[in-house]
Symmetry: C2
Amino acid sequence: MKKSLTDWPIGIKKTNQRQKVLLILENSDKPLGATEIFSQIADDGDSAWLSTVYRTLDLFVKHGIINKINVMNSEIAIYELNRLNHKHYAVCLNCHKIISMINCPMTEFDPKLEESDFQIMGHNLEIYGLCKDCTSKK
Amino acid sequence: MKKSLTDWPIGIKKTNQRQKVLLILENSDKPLGATEIFSQIADDGDSAWLSTVYRTLDLFVKHGIINKINVMNSEIAIYELNRLNHKHYAVCLNCHKIISMINCPMTEFDPKLEESDFQIMGHNLEIYGLCKDCTSKK
DNA sequence: TTCGGTGCAAACGCTTTGCAAAAGG
DNA sequence: CCTTTTGCAAAGCGTTTGCACCGAA
């Protein structure tokens, strides 16, 4: 199996299935759903059960290696590597295509909350609308 | 039944169940899940099947009366009235409490996308972290 | 009277869980 | 070896769907 670029996190057993999941996320330029990862493993001739993929993803999320994103108007959760420069996405309401955003509004923004003393650990931003193809088709 | 503040949208049949759903959302200061709305109807002594609540919510979303939000690390969708000044929320990763945000970073932000000609129709922002109670308990 | 809405039940799809067998350290 | 992880099956749970009856206009 190809070697993973990320250093293997301490305290996590290095199994074939887990390495494979991490590798797929590293090589993807967009967030992936559990089922996508599952079938990509099968396509590569390897094997890992869907439940294993889910358990692995949960584990990685807990260790902060990857992020879980809940895209609106979609029932599935998608996962992406927690890279240093985090990204946001625009979703097409019609074809559900995901487009990367280059900048992030939160870098110079100070959120005011109704409750004080909230310890902010991160944020999620999602833009929705119609992509080039879907605007022209209508 | 108490009268709803929102003008009833044209082209939608005014049924008891739909008025009830809208009323509950109007009187709520936080987004609600379908099941919450369902049981609140029951608590008030009225009746509407869960599937009816879902169909009503879908209808309202399509008409732009309410918004559907998918909170991260939660499997359920929540709904809120589409008020003029839209809001964002902070979610506690520990107790899942939802706290309102008063300002919005997107008012003076120009997103740069990898694909041009994306027609932006809206956005969703979510902050996550630990609320006051959960920070102190740890 | 007509057509859409609702009650109801059953299906659906993503995700989780329980348990014995397998594998990592 | 001993503990964690995996394969596998089955359940869980929010949500959707199909259909006959009902009710708003």
